[in-house]
Every structure is written in C-alpha cells, then in structure tokens.
Symmetry: C2
C-alpha cells in the first residue's frame, strides 16, 4: 500500500473495511489503522473520538503537550472573572474519559518534536522525564492549534504580562486578581481583550484597553462597534484606540506600559490578546505546504500536501465559505467539524469541509455583537461589489415589556443576474436577540439565500420572542426594495464627506430632508438638513428643490422610505439615507460635522 | 379595461404606470386605481400601507368593523395579566396615523355587508348611525380575519363567558380580573388558552384548563408538551385533558362549567379559546371559491376566484410550504406578508406567496415551546415518509452559568434520492434559546436544506450564547448518522408497545441495554433493561445475546450512540433508542410500564 493509493478516499480497501457498517467483524482480519493525533483540544479531540466511533480496532494515540485535553478556552475570561466558579467546569473532557470511553491512548505532557514523512514516524518527548521516543503512523492528524501573537517589544517577558493559551495561563491571571489586583492593561480590543476587560471590571480592577486600530473589535465594521465602546465607557473602562504598547517596564512592584503616543500606563498586570498565529512549526519543518498567513494548506477533506497527514483547527488554512478564497479563521465550531471530517477521510468517507463563514458573537456587559460572512471593509478591501442596509428594530414586540433595540447591518451582492441580492455578510449589535438574528442569517448565507428570500422568511412570533415582521424580514424588505429601485438609497458616507454641510448649504450638494417630528429634529439632526415631517410632506412639496437631489431620512429609515416613495412618485430626484439618524450617530456619536478619524471621534464622544 | 385584462399581472397598462418608479409623474394622467380593503388589522393594514407606498394617487379606503385598526391581538393575554401595563401599547397604529402618514381613508365602525361583483361595488353600513351606502372599487382586498370558534352548547351566551377577538373583549376580561376574580376556567389548551392561563395565575386567579384532546398544544406532538404540562402543574394550574365543556350554567353570582366527564367546575369567568374559523361570510355570499376548511381560495398572488378580489390573512386558504397542499394556518407574520403581496399584485407586481410553514412559539411560565413545519402526527396522518430524532442539549455552553436544557425534535425525509434528509419539521421545548433554534431550522426548511446541511451549519458561539456544537448541529449529526446507517435507530414507540417488557423478559423481543452508570440506572430505567456502562462495554460483550436485537440507550442518546457503534462493529444486531431515557420520560413521565392513553398518563404523573 502506498500513500497515493490510500490518499484517494474510498480506494483504500483496508480503510473501507474499517468503516463498513455492513460487516464490521471482518476488520480484525487486517492490521488495524494506526492514527496519531497531535493536539487534544477542539479539533484534535473531535478527530480522536470520531475516529473511534468509525473504527473499534484502530490504534489511536493522542499527544498533547499540555496537561489537559479538550478544555473550554472560550470560558477562561469568565473563570478569571469569577462568573464560572470552578476550574473543573472548564474541563470539557479528561484524558481518563477519552481512555475509558473511547479507548484512546492519551499522552498528555508529550510533545511531538518532528515528523519523518518518509518513514511515517514522529519523534516525541515525554516532558515529565525528558525521554524521547518514536512512534509510527499510518495517518497523522495535526491539531496543535494556534499561539497568541506576542508583540516583540522590550519588556514583553516581564512577570505579570500574560497571553492566553493554556489553563495554566488563566491560573496565573486569576491568582493575580485574587491577590488584590488594582489596575490592569489589556493590549488588544478584539474578542478576548473585551471579554477580559469585562471580567476584570467585574472583579473591581481598573482597566485600560489599548488597541492599535481606530476601533474595537476589528472583525466588525467600525460604526457597528459604537454601542460596545459606549458600554465600556459606561463601565469605566479606559480606552486607547489607535495606540499601541511599544515597551513594558518594571516600576517598583508593578509594570508600566509605554504607548506609542508617549503615554505611560501603570498596571499590576497586563493581558495581551492581539490575535493568534497557527502553531505550524511541525508542519513547516516537515515541509508541508503552508499558506501566506502561516496556515497549513489542506483540501476539502483536511488533507495536507502529504496525503497521510491531515491538519484541522486553528493550524489549518481553510477557505471562506462565500467566495471560496483561502482564509485563516480560528473558531471552535469549525475546528470541531474539521476534526470530524479529517477522521472521516482517514476512514475513507467522503465528508467535505464547506468552508468557514466566520460566524461569531461576543458579549460585553449588556451589549451583544455578532457577525457572519464578510464585513464591509473586507468587501471593500477585496474590491467586491456590494450594497448595504441598516435596520434598527427591537428584539421583540415593542408593546411587550423589555424590548431591546439592535442595529442589524446586511451586506449583499447588487449585481444583476440570478444571484442578485445574495447575502454576503451581516453584523448585529444590541441587546437580547442579536445572536438569534445572526444565526438565522448565517444559515441563510450557508443556503445561498438572497435578500428577496429574507423578505419571505417565516420566523416564530410571540410578543416575548419576536415581531410579526422580524428584524430579519425588515432587513430583507429594505435591501430588496433598494435592489428593485423602490427606494434609491444613499449611503451615510455621502453626508459624512468633509465639507458636505457647507456644500449643501451653498446649494452645491444634496439637501438632507429630515422627515421626523420637529421635536426629534430639535434634539439633533444632520448638518444642513431641513425638516418636514412625513405627515406634512404631501402638502409641502413646494418647499423642496427640483434641481438638487433630496436625501430623506428619519430616525431608523422607515419614514425616510415613505418620504422617498412620495417624492419619487412626484418626480423628485430623491434617495433615502440608509438607516436614518441612528446610523448617522453610529458613525459619529459626537459632532455631526466633525471630520477627523472616525473611531477617535467615537472615543472622544462617549468618553466625555 | 375589463377585469380579465387587469387580472393578468403586468398586463394592465394602468397598473404598470401606477408602479413604475421610472416615471411616476405620468400616473396622474389616468384615473387612479380605487382600492377597497375590508379589515384593518394585520393583513389589511399591511395591504393598505403597501398600496400607498406603491401608488401615491390610488384611492385607498379601509373599512374596519371595530373601533380599532392594527392592534396587537397577540398581546391581549399579557394586557389582561398586567404584564403589558397600558391598553395604548396594544395599538400598533391608529386610524389617524393611517390617514395622516399614508393618506388612507380609514372608516372604522363601518361594516361591509355585501359585495356586488358584477358592478364592482360593496354595500357598507356605518355602525354608529345605521346609514348604509355603496362604494365602488377597482380592486378589493378581503382581510376580515377569523372569528373564535364558539362551542354550540347550552349557556354559551351567559355573561362572564368570553372569546378573544377585539380589544373590547379584553377590556371586559381585564375588568373582571381587576374586580377580584377568584376562579376561572379556560376552555382550550392551545396557544391562547395557555397564555391566558399563565396571565390569570399571574393575577392570582385559580385557573383550570379544559382541553378536548389528550394533550395540550395540539399543534405539537404530545410528548413534546410534557414540560409545559409539568410547568402548569408546578404553577397550580388545574388540568382536564380529554374532557370538554358541554354546558355552562349560572349559579348565583358565578358560573358552572359542566364537563363531558360529569364534573362541574365553578368559575367567576370562562375564557374560550378553541380555535378560529375564517370570517368568510362576505366571500361565501359573493360566490367566491372556498376551501374545505372555510378559507377563501387564492392563488400565489392572493387573488381569489374573482381576479378583482384578493383575500389575505386568516380568511385566506394558503398552501403549506413543504408539500404545497392547501392549508388554513392563522398567523400574524404570514398575514402581513400576504397583505403586502396582495398590494403588489394590485399594482402589477410579480410578488408571490411561498406558502406558510406554521412557524410558531409560545411561552408558558418558564417554558418555551416552538415549532416549524410538520409535526409527526400530521406526517403520520398524511401517510408521509419520515424519520425523527430527539436531542436534549443545553442552550449554551454547560460550563457557563445558567445553561438551560431543551428538547429538540427533528423530522426529515428518509427516502433515498437527492432530497434525502430534507427537513420536514422541528419542535423544541425548554428554556432560553428554543426560539432561536426553531428560527434557524425554519429558514433551513425555507431553503430546502437537509439534515446533512445542519451538520455543517456554522452558528455563533460564545459561552453565553451557544455551544461549539450547537443543538442544531447535534440534531443534524444524529439524523445524518441515522440515514447513513452509522447508528440504526429504534424509535421509542418500540418499547412503549403494550407488553413489551414481558416479551423482552421472556426473550421474545429486543433487549434494552442501559449504558449509563449504575447510579443513573438505579434512579430509573426502561422496563426489562440491563445495565452495562459504555465504559465497560468492550470488556463485557459476552454478557449480551447475539440472537436478539440490542436496544442501546443512555440519558440523551450520545452514549447510546457510542455503544451502538461498538456493538455494531462487533457484529451485534443493535439499534440506538432515539433520544434516550429523557425521551422515554417525555412519553411517559409516570410509570414506565403504563400503557393507557399517553396524555392522561402525563397528567396523572405530573399532577400528583
């Protein structure tokens, strides 16, 4: 048997016998498959247990460098914060259970040092004793995960500076907090950074977040992060956007974080969460093909350039599910599915990985932010055709107590053709129900649905749970109406351009028409806007110019849409300003006319 | 212009002009369309506002028999219960707003008495004055809704007996509760009955529910209602399943409800919610085609047998979305969309209604129950091919505090072919997150997805919101594994058959194998089951018979699946008992061996 043969799934008679549900007893007639797995958390543990379910007599050895397998690293910030009250709860499964229930030879504190692909052997070090030995394999699954990126700056190795990978990391952090930590700096404003900041605040620690970009949560579009930023400020989290740590220094018992801006932040502890990179050393040294972001190249069955070796989870370069381009998206759900698919492939099954959508969610205090598919900035960066809409509905019927507002942004393909309106991405931010709508749109993207399909989506409605017109329907209505030409839409960027107000007042640009009530108008409005409530519009058409484009807007977009329909049918050049005043305020929560960097404005505004 | 011409959508030049966004100003050159709408709640109000958005100069008259338009009838029980604290909140929109914002001629307290299709006129009575008049139409939209079914039994007209249709009904009910109501009987254990019972209890009223069927919530399968039944009993709601009210009598100041069983229940008030029937009088008298359940026959554009007349909402007979059969499914969301589609059709647009899935949700105390698509009993009744699986996951990561358990039942098409695994229906019951999973599966059904697709669905995961393997994925795994033959499944009905335990013990039937721990086994197990924990199974294969089928089970199905895989590969005749002991307990929460009517057993069990 050569690897080429066995690589072609289903052509390996041994493998086929191994998985045949028809005559499993015949398995023992041939030498069982020997499967080695490197890494015992999400992808590795899934591959191991799936492999056992597929083959009772395969020899399965799982190597894990650390002391634990399959622990819940997503729960670590909450353990530090005392929300999760015991360390044992983070342990999803134990080596003992994998041994007893799945007959897997689990070797924790064993590091795989090298792969000899020619002889199909790995070199292993038992970390407790230093003993080294070799183990042969028929198939190898690499699931080592990723490591936190560590900024290469002076002082990064000082005690009190932590990244998050193993349960041991969180033990140290928790011990520090328990010992009475007063002040911490979180470097990185992504998912982990925000979750940590929340938990530090929860424990009474004065916390500063330093983020290199001009916004929090870089996977989201900047304006969608405004409610999170506001929430952090409400909870007294100190923010430094567009800044970075350039050095760490020991000062007495504590640390000082030196920022690029020149500021120095005192801290009893620093938590660094600035992203992860694939732990690809083994794969690189073994000469496996590697993608530009460091991920191990795999096919749809998670097979690397060596067909005897699979790679799954954060170490693998996958494809994003929408355009099918290579991507590096570390997520637990996909890692689990990839482990499953790798095991399937080992035993000759045809399962194929469909790509990762990047569906994710984060809770920060009372705010939830979630997204799936592409963000607007990704689409722009890649030069894709797209349009966008914003809706600001409540999570359930407004007449039932406790309704919470959300903003839902939908990105879709406007190009004519059978795929017109295909959903490319969605983001939502708000209170309860945000995760539900993103999950619904995630499966819509998986199904290749269009915004026209979202109009017709039938979701469960009772006053505590939703609305007869669900936020998902609303987004579909607005997006489909835009594509049909029912309401030409101008994006908010039009009025955010520097000098727009001046040009508008000089008659040289579009004229914003605020169709809300005078009371709403008085509380704040777009620069250069005039006010005619939609109810009076039909009677006051004469007040509007016919030689300039009118940009209707209201609070969230609906009255603006009605006004747009009225004006359109009366022959005006008109567009609805997408998402209304609420969207404008997401873009610039402080001064309407301010024109400097967007996120800096955000920070200045909500930080006052 | 004749009706035939205009009925063919897009062929009516007037209509086309009316909706053209390119040159709307030309509209006024022709006589505007005159559109009459009968009924001003969900479907009617949607049709009216959509019509105005499509045509600024159409003449739109909306007749509503009651005093209110577009009120939230779904909120009525919660207003009675004081959860919604003001009546105004139930008013979604007012006649005044429809007039001012949409230039709609709203005529409340006007009853449309008859339609003269030949002359295209309706006869209208102004209820305040008794004045009658005629109004001509070009197009007519019927949206009168449905009326509560009133049992034709003696005493049904006594004061203190209420059905729910208009806001006035709830005013009377609330007044009664406010006046110190002590004891109430709710006739009907469907959505409205349960919501009312909860709110009556909330107000301190001793409440009995009388339901004709042997289960609550008849749209769901009986076993899925067990947690709701238990919740009602926990909250001291008295239940009479399989019984019905045969008469009502005035006794002193109060009422007595006489049941078919002979029991007499004293009550200060009776709320009757035993379903609705289409308010089809106008349509019947006008000779429009009517379906067997009384709904007005419509095409995909909601056009009745008279192309000048559309029908939408509860009065219309629609098609269910899965097999495309005619159905009568009164729901607010579909009514809204149908109103929109009717207006589109009036103005020459091509929108088409795709059918109703019956997606719905209800909250009863701390329990949520939701469903979409077909129930098992519907599929059985219609003789469809189906298989089913149950999973019992938590709504979010178990290690994060507050995780709540749910049961998710998935029904799918097992027939070989390209559509194998197509999802036919789903039901879920439990705590938080039930509505989310049903919404996700609702859109999966809309998309025609299969259980194989659910395996790959990528949903948002953070510990507060979900799991890396979401309940939806879990259901997909189990169902797809069943179809692939990875784990033959026996449905729970096998062991529920009368005499199964005796036959099994006599060696004449399958042998249930409980693979849980001895502690779990001791707390309760299937009749005739033997116990070998899955961890010991490989070493104890010799204890199992090779001449009888082994039915593995655990608590929820996962260990049973592992055991099934082990035994299958060792040549046993084996199946996994779908959904494990937890599913068994849903079917019979009291005595394992009990064999009388299922829901009666439920009641006896949880009512003790």
């Amino acid at each position: 048997m050569t690897w080429r043969q066995s690589a072609s799934a289903g052509e390996d008679p041994e493998d086929r016998r191994a998985v045949s549900p028809i005559n499993p007893a015949s398995q023992s007639a041939v030498r069982p498959v020997k499967l080695l797995i490197v890494g015992g958390v999400a992808g590795g543990a899934s591959a191991a247990t799936r492999a056992r379910r597929l083959s009772e007599d395969a020899e399965i050895i799982l190597f894990e460098k650390g002391p634990d397998v399959s622990f819940a690293n997503c729960g670590m910030p909450y353990y530090a914060g005392g929300v999760i009250d015991s360390r044992e709860k983070l342990v999803v499964t134990t080596p003992e259970r994998l041994r007893r229930r799945f007959a897997i030879d689990v070797r924790t504190r064993h590091e795989v040092l090298a792969i000899d692909r020619d002889s199909r052997r790995v070199r292993v070090r038992e970390l407790e004793t230093g003993r080294e030995y070799e183990e042969s394999y028929d198939r190898l699954v690499l699931a080592p995960g990723a490591v936190p990126v560590t900024p290469e700056v002076p002082g990064i190795d000082l005690p009190g500076i932590f990244t998050l990978r193993a349960l041991e990391d969180i033990d140290h952090i928790k011990a520090g907090i328990d010992a009475g930590l007063k002040r911490a700096v979180v470097v990185g404003g992504g998912f982990i950074g925000l979750e940590f900041a929340e938990n530090l605040v929860h424990r009474g620690v004065a916390t500063t977040i330093v983020e290199l970009q001009q916004q929090l949560l870089p996977p989201l579009d900047a304006e969608m992060t405004t409610p999170i930023l506001a929430s952090l400020v409400r909870h007294d989290v100190d923010l430094r956007l567009g800044d970075s740590a350039v050095a760490f220094e020991q000062v007495g018992q504590g640390l000082e974080v030196c920022l690029a801006s020149g500021e120095r932040l005192p801290a009893g502890m620093v938590v660094v969460g600035v992203g992860v990179r694939p732990l690809n050393t083994l794969a690189v040294e073994a000469g496996l093909e590697i993608g530009p972001r460091g991920g191990v190249r795999v096919d749809e069955q998670m097979r690397t350039s060596d067909p005897a070796i699979h790679a799954v989870g954060d170490v693998a370069e996958i494809r994003e599910a929408i355009f099918g381009e290579p991507a590096q998206i570390p997520l637990a759900g996909p890692a689990n599915r990839q482990g499953r698919i790798a095991a399937d492939a080992v035993f000759g099954r045809e399962s194929r990985y469909r790509g990762t959508q990047g569906t994710s969610v984060v809770g920060v205090f009372e705010v939830t932010a979630a997204s799936t598919g592409f963000s607007e900035k990704q689409l722009r960066r890649e030069g894709r055709h797209y349009r966008k809409v914003y809706v600001h509905p409540a999570n359930h019927a407004g007449y039932y107590p406790g309704a919470e507002s959300m903003t839902l942004k939908l990105l879709f393909d406007p190009q004519p053709g059978p795929r017109q309106g295909r959903i490319l991405g969605a983001q939502a931010v708000g209170g309860h129900g945000v995760d539900k709508r993103i999950d619904v749109i995630a499966i819509a993207i998986q199904s290749g649905l269009t915004v026209y399909d979202l109009e017709e989506t039938e979701l469960a409605y009772a006053p505590q749970y939703g609305s007869a017109k669900d936020p998902v329907n609303m987004a579909g209505f607005v997006a489909a109406g835009l594509l049909r030409g029912d309401h030409p839409q101008a994006d908010m960027e039009t009025v955010l351009e520097p000098g727009f107000a001046e040009r508008s007042q000089a008659g040289e640009a579009e004229i914003p028409l605020d169709v809300r009530t005078p009371e709403e108008f008085a509380r704040g409005h777009l620069p250069a806007a005039i006010n005619i409530p939609v109810e009076e519009l039909r009677a006051r058409l004469g007040e509007l110019p016919r030689n300039r484009r009118v940009l209707c807007y209201c609070q969230v977009g609906y009255r603006g849409y009605l006004a747009t329909r009225i004006l359109l049918q009366h022959g005006f050049d008109v567009a609805n300003l997408g998402g209304g005043y609420k969207t404008f305020r997401l873009h610039c929560p402080d001064e309407p006319a301010a024109a400097d960097g967007r996120a800096t404005r955000q920070a200045a505004a909500v930080g006052r």
